[in-house]
């Protein structure tokens, strides 16, 4: 124990041998650690906030549907004849934070032009509470729950078919009984998704109007869309399909995954660059002390003792830097938790469009516990790797004569 204490003291004192160099090494490593922790927290929270914003606007966390509503291998395609009712959902809690939707591929005609779009029948009142869709209406109003046969069109769609708020449009589709469905609806609002593709392909009406159009009973619908998924796990409902948003919008799920993985990759590259610099500094430090190592060997210090003392030295340096870096990372994370970060900073103030919808989130950065041990472990591993070559040099060259 006494010997180990001396070894610790020896290693610690070696850190003070060249204080400026030690401080620079500790600062570079701690700044790197702090940045990586902040960056990972930011990327994680950023992805979550963007997704939360995006999903809350319209898409929802998951859809409860008939088992054959979405095509198994391509959720972009659906079978509109497959409907469900609330009687099929045993857990009534699932109904609280979800809203029913009726979907209908239709043609919508203005006075001069006709286009094919997806008409969605909404539970207007609940939709306003659960989603931010109503906020995207920039011209006119959102659907009035007390009215019927109103329609809200995407801005680009309205331009294409040359209609405006107050105009009537003809809606033509196929009812579930096989008959031709047609209805006149009044345009009450235009929705602005930032000019995205969805602006040209979506239209919304009251659920009752959509049900009547498709000859459905009031309890029948296509989707129950949930906005309150807990622990990122979807419920299992016997006899029905529960489809998570990443399956419905795989391209967006992949983008989020890409951002997460890319952030880790950047973190690893940062650590590698710091490690190379550190390795070089350690090499210089060790080589400067080569004669001293030889002397230690002559007076009786085994190579193992010298090696362990150097490893402890680097470990102490790393531990101080990692502790400081973790603190820095946490402080910066906490700051941006209290003062959310506007990610439009990265786009020069322009809105971010995702999945055809406009996103304007303020990112509140949340600390993720796993980063607080994963990042230090990663840095310790790199430190260990960093030491190998300088140590081999020391071991090779410390066995020498007077």
């Amino acid at each position: 124990m006494n010997g180990f204490k001396f070894l610790l003291k020896f290693s610690y004192r070696n850190l003070l041998r060249s204080p400026k160099r030690t401080i620079i090494l500790i600062l570079s490593l701690s700044l790197g650690t702090g940045f990586i922790i902040w960056d990972l927290n930011f990327a994680n929270s950023g992805s979550k906030e963007v997704m939360k914003e995006f999903l809350a606007q319209y898409a929802g966390e998951y859809h409860i549907t008939h088992k054959e509503y979405y095509k198994l291998d391509n959720k972009k395609e659906f079978n509109n004849f497959k409907i469900i009712t609330d009687d099929e959902i045993q857990d009534k809690n699932l109904i609280t934070f979800s809203t029913r939707r009726v979907t209908a591929p239709i043609f919508v005609s203005g006075e001069k032009k006709t286009l094919g779009v997806l008409l969605t029948g909404l539970e207007t009142e609940k939709e306003t509470k659960l989603t931010t869709l109503a906020r995207a209406v920039t011209v006119g109003n959102f659907l009035n729950p007390l009215n019927e046969k109103e329609i809200v069109l995407g801005k680009r769609l309205a331009n294409r078919i040359e209609v405006n708020v107050g105009d009537e449009v003809a809606v033509i589709g196929q009812a579930l009984d096989g008959s031709v469905a047609n209805e006149l609806m009044r345009v009450v609002g235009l929705i602005d998704f930032g000019g995205g593709d969805l602006e040209e392909s979506l239209a919304f009406t009251q659920i009752k109007s959509a049900q009547e159009l498709l000859v459905m009973t009031p309890d029948q619908y296509h989707q129950r869309v949930d906005f309150n998924m807990k622990d990122e796990t979807v419920p299992k409902i016997e006899g029905l399909a529960v489809t998570i948003w990443t399956d419905i919008l795989p391209e967006i799920g992949v983008s989020v995954k890409f951002v997460d993985n890319f952030t880790w990759l950047v973190s690893i590259i940062i650590v590698m660059v710091i490690s190379l610099g550190l390795s070089n500094s350690l090499m210089i430090t060790f080589l400067e002390r080569e004669q001293e190592f030889q002397c230690l060997n002559i007076i009786g210090a085994k190579t193992t003792w010298v090696t362990v003392s150097l490893m402890i030295e680097v470990f102490l340096l790393g531990t101080i830097a990692i502790m400081l870096g973790t603190l820095l990372g946490h402080i910066s994370t906490t700051y941006f938790h209290h003062y959310p970060f506007n990610i439009q900073f990265f786009t020069g103030g322009k809105p971010i469009i995702m999945g055809g919808m406009i996103i304007q989130p303020l990112v509140r950065i949340y600390p993720v516990l796993e980063y607080y041990w994963k990042v230090p472990v990663m840095i310790y591993l790199f430190l260990l790797t960093t030491m190998i070559y300088p140590l081999i040099r020391v071991i090779r060259r410390s066995k020498n004569a007077i």
Binding site: L16, L296, N297, I298, I299, G300, W305, I402
Partner: protein, 229 residues
């Protein structure tokens, strides 16, 4: 226990044809209480002989013995331990660790030997007293003069009461007065505690004080003279 070099050659071979004898046919016995010097010009082989005695290098031929043990059969780590257990070293440029105080520098080999804290305290204080630096244990090497640093180096070498102390040009970096004091210190340690010293030196004052002088030329001990006190 005696240290013995028997028919030792050390050949540095640059190529098949180009062989350089660092030491040639060395026969040397070092007994307890010896106070001897290897003397010769630079490159004559003095330091090679010191290195051979210390087991820092191995002979190309012949054997190195300590008591009944053949040091040439030891592994590198065993030779390091052998040095730690039986030898002390004094260097021309002191070789103190700048990050440790005088006390801690002396403590260093004792820690490696595994002494208890109490034993270490006793031995370090004893060594500091012998070299006349009782009150300077807390100072770092840079806070000491050259002569004081060499005294700490001597204290480090004697603290473990080794059977043999090897000193490579111990007075070369010191001024005349300090060198004389250090030589007196060596003499005192040899006479009072029967510590065995072998020096490699050019310093005539030291040569005059040792009991045995071995003149080294071209790797060979060409002449041995014994002074009688």
């Amino acid at each position: 226990m005696q240290f013995e070099l028997i028919n030792v050659d050390k050949i540095y071979q640059a190529s098949e044809e180009n062989k350089i004898f660092g030491a040639k046919n060395i026969n040397l016995k070092i007994s307890e209480g010896d106070f001897m010097a290897l003397v010769g010009p630079s490159g004559s082989g003095k330091t090679t002989i010191l290195n051979l005695i210390a087991g820092l290098i191995l002979p190309s031929q012949g054997s190195l013995k300590h008591g009944g043990s053949d040091i040439t059969s030891f592994s590198l780590e065993e030779r390091t331990k052998h040095r730690l257990d039986y030898m002390g070293f004094i260097f021309q440029d002191y070789q103190l660790l700048p990050i440790l105080t005088a006390f801690e520098n002396i403590e260093f080999p004792l820690q490696l030997k595994g002494f208890t804290k109490k034993e270490i305290d006793e031995r370090v204080h004893w060594a500091l007293k012998q070299v006349g630096l009782e009150n300077m244990g807390h100072r770092f090497p840079k806070q000491l003069s050259g002569g004081q640093q060499q005294r700490v180096s001597i204290a480090r070498a004697i603290a473990g009461r080794p059977q043999l102390i090897l000193a490579d040009e111990p007075t070369a970096n010191l001024d005349s007065k300090t060198a004389q004091e250090i030589i007196e210190l060596f003499k005192k340690l040899n006479q009072e505690f029967k510590l065995t010293f072998i020096f490699s030196t050019h310093d005539q004052r030291l040569i005059d004080q040792v009991k045995t002088v071995m003149y080294v030329k071209d790797g060979q001990i060409s002449e041995t003279r014994t002074h009688h006190a």
